[in-house]
């Protein structure tokens, strides 16, 4: 299968490219990228004639595909943006164990529909992904039912209990790309130190949900003006800051690789910025919801449980700092923390609802409309944050369209208008605070391994 992407605006920060290019995808990799790539058969949407030869491209920059290509499909992408496939390195696919919320199949369908060619899925399944057998199961489900690439993240500790190290070497051998107890911070300083050291053997980043559980306590929202008004048990920003500070001291001690998930406070960004300046191997991600919403949304929504996530929506000051850190390069990736929950689980009082919202199908459109359109960041930076950056964080294949790299491509239409309708989600779950939001700019094609992903109509 050969696919020729014709005439799109290729935005690939990995090669500092933002120009109209043709791209040829063949045998699952990017075969060629040039101003003009001509098919041997001039007539040919489906080329592959026997005439061979080449026609001079405009300006002489292009080359023909050549004879003998068995069926080249040409996609005219004039006016569209062609980017290296987007990777969401923070997703909960819920399989095994919580298939009523999501499965590998529905989660990757949501990913493909949302413009993501790959996801990294967290280990807080049931059973926990703390053994090679679970990793292999997830990968096998992905091979059989996946609509996007799946990179499992293994547990740091057995059962996410924070006591004994999981079999990190065997997890690595089975295919995990990082280790994380996500959902449960690694609280023990000793365990974190050992994990950071040990994971170096396998070059795995330790991915941390940083939160001092003593400080967060029973909290369910950000501690600030709105928790004061609602009388709601709250999580101070310091719960994140304190743990990030400790973690970075241990990164310094061990020389380990560290990735901070869903950074939510101004102060923890400063800590990461400082760590990078001092040469530590530390990276961080932010979520679209922390970039676009503040704790005011809890009150404004009438205590909607779709505004409850962990870390919580923070103050406007924190939100502004996150947006600024996107632009100045402190942030390495935008990741969704896609956390599906069944409607019955969310239709309970705010204080006892589970934390989390879905994000795969809303992230790209929201970022295009609310971050790129107003000029907060440019399109190349957004592609970097959704593609090159996350690939770097977990050393994943992709994040670039340099010839030889995986033929994973996300195509955007910057003019397409959208309205978020949770009933149209591919995900099994509908828990989003963005229902009804409107905007312009959306993913329109997702190409994985050189094939256009066809997503079935949403099941109701």
């Amino acid at each position: 299968m050969t696919l020729l992407l014709r005439g799109g605006r290729v935005v690939d920060p990995s090669q500092r490219l933002d120009a109209v290019r043709d791209i040829l995808l063949r045998d699952g990799v990017v075969a060629e990228i040039a101003e003009r790539i001509d098919l041997g058969d001039a007539s040919g949407e489906r080329g592959g004639g026997d005439r061979g030869g080449r026609r001079g491209g405009r300006g002489g920059a292009g080359r023909g595909v050549g004879a003998g290509d068995p069926g080249v499909r040409v996609l005219d992408l004039e006016g569209k943006v062609v980017a290296p496939g987007f990777l969401d390195i923070h997703v909960h696919l819920r399989e095994p164990g919580h298939e009523h919320k999501e499965t590998v199949e529905t989660g990757t369908r949501a990913a493909a529909a949302g413009g993501f060619t790959a996801v990294a899925c967290m280990a807080n399944t049931h059973p926990v992904n703390d053994t090679a057998a679970v990793t292999e199961h997830i990968l096998s489900q992905a091979r059989r039912h996946g609509y996007a690439r799946v990179y499992p993240v293994g547990a740091v500790s057995k059962g996410l209990q924070g006591e004994e190290l999981a079999e990190i070497g065997q997890l690595h051998a089975a295919g995990v790309v990082a280790i994380s107890d996500d959902g449960r911070p690694v609280a023990s300083s000793e365990l974190l130190r050992r994990a950071l050291s040990y994971a170096r053997h396998f070059a795995l980043p330790l991915v941390q949900h940083a939160q001092d559980l003593d400080l967060s306590g029973e909290g369910v929202m950000h501690e600030g003006v709105f928790s004061a008004r609602l009388g709601m048990p709250a999580i101070p920003g310091a719960a994140e800051d304190a743990m990030v500070a400790r973690d970075l001291l241990l990164v310094e001690l061990t020389g380990g690789r560290y990735h901070l998930q869903h950074t939510s406070t101004a102060r923890s960004l400063e800590l990461i910025r400082d760590a990078k300046r001092r040469g530590l191997d530390a990276t961080c991600e932010v979520t679209p919801h922390h970039l676009l919403l503040t704790d005011q949304e809890v009150l404004r929504s009438g205590l909607s449980t779709d505004t409850k996530m962990n870390p919580p929506l923070r103050s406007a000051r924190d939100r502004d700092a996150l947006v600024e850190a996107l632009a100045d390069g402190t942030v390495d990736a935008i990741a969704t923390d896609h956390a599906p929950h069944h409607v019955d689980e969310k239709r309970v009082p705010f204080a006892i609802a589970p934390f989390g919202i879905v994000g795969l199908e809303t992230a790209v459109g929201l970022c295009l409309d609310r971050l790129v359109r107003p000029g907060t960041i440019d399109l190349a930076r957004l592609v970097d944050l959704l593609s090159c950056g996350p690939a770097r964080v977990m050393a994943l294949p992709g994040g670039t369209l340099v010839p030889g790299s995986p033929a994973d491509v996300t195509v955007l239409d910057l003019e397409q208008e959208w309205t978020i309708d949770p009933l149209q989600f591919q995900s099994k779950s509908r828990n989003t605070p963005f229902a009804g939001w409107k905007g312009r700019g959306a993913p329109v094609l997702t190409i994985v391994g050189g094939r256009v992903v066809e997503v079935p109509a949403p099941s109701r």
């Binding site: 600030g224 004061a228 009388g231 709601m232 205590l303 239709r347 309970v348 009082p349 204080a351």
Partner: protein
């Protein structure tokens, strides 16, 4: 222009209420106060109405006060005991609400440990919903009865200086009172141990003081909050003895308040913890008056909400 039409079906919080609505409730309560002084303490206003008390948190005085208010107006009061209910069997709150709704009550009075539950109920049922306390968020009828008590004593709310002292962070009484009293033009000062004060207490719309002496200076009204003794184990104060020593309202500490200051407490009181007995029983104390006024205020609320039936507001 004074508003004279009530069209609200639910009382979910003081935050929603307009000044005119608050005045309507207080004015109606004035007239219901008289019912308690009759030999036959009953009016037929709500005859044939069923009012359901749904108390997910233990409550003696608030639920009794509502029950008496309902019965004095000839409504049928049914207590849905949550201790032995299907909720213990895992039924969801919304399923319980739907089941109760199927019994066709005219109003539900609900108290719950979690903020927002009355609003959830109001979205799911067609009858009126009254918030009798949700988490640490609101307790609107308590604030209304406090305001009613103050207004009867002082003749006004506008311009009064009021201190609210104690565990502000965990107090729905404090939150509803700040909202209501400031709406009505009073100035409120919050005080208490710093470990019991919300991080952004000023956001409530009040001034904040950190000593009782400072808080009560030149005040017309002092409202003490109940200290929940079980919180000591949760590290927010060291001991009852120490609390009394530094933060209780004593005669000595009241000296800087106005001469005609009045003392309120939502009850139940911890004598010798947040309030000294001689203050609680002293001449400035209106604590028992609050309880009597509570019935009249709740009668007024039931009456007004019932009148809005079918108007779809």
């Amino acid at each position: 222009m004074k508003r004279t039409v009530w069209n609200r079906r639910h009382l979910l919080g003081v935050a929603d209420l307009e000044i005119a609505e608050i005045e309507m409730i207080l004015d109606a309560a004035d007239s219901f106060l008289e019912v308690a002084r009759r030999p036959i303490k009953k009016v037929p206003t709500l005859r044939g109405r069923t009012i359901l008390g749904l108390f997910f948190e233990p409550s003696t005085r608030t639920s009794s006060s509502f029950e008496i208010a309902a019965k004095r107006m000839s409504a049928d009061w049914v207590n849905f005991s949550t201790g032995s209910s299907s909720l213990k069997k895992g039924e969801s709150l919304l399923d319980t609400a739907k089941n109760l709704e199927a019994m066709a009550p005219d109003m539900i009075v609900v108290r719950h440990a979690h903020a927002g539950v009355p609003d959830m109920l109001a979205r799911e049922v067609t009858c009126g919903v009254i918030n009798a306390g949700d988490g640490a968020r609101e307790h609107p009828t308590q604030a209304l009865l406090d305001a009613f008590t103050i207004r009867r004593e002082k003749g006004r709310l506008q311009g009064l200086e009021i201190a609210i002292i104690g565990d502000v962070e965990h107090s729905r009484v404090a939150r509803s009172n700040v909202l209501l009293l400031t709406k009505m033009g009073a100035r409120v000062t919050l005080a208490g141990p710093r470990s019991m004060m919300p991080l952004e207490a000023e956001a409530l719309g009040a001034e904040v003081a950190y000593s009782v002496e400072e808080a009560v200076r030149d005040k017309d009204v002092i409202m003490m909050l109940r200290i929940q003794l079980e919180r000591q184990s949760r590290r927010i104060f060291p001991s009852v003895k120490e609390y009394f020593e530094f933060f209780a309202l004593t005669r000595e500490r009241m000296k800087t308040a106005k001469d005609d200051v009045i003392i309120l407490h939502p009850g139940p009181m911890n004598r010798g913890v947040e309030i000294a007995s001689d203050v609680a029983d002293g001449p400035y104390s209106l604590i028992l008056g609050q309880v009597a006024n509570g019935v009249a205020v709740r009668m007024a609320v039931l009456y007004l909400l019932d009148g809005a039936r079918g108007e779809g507001a």
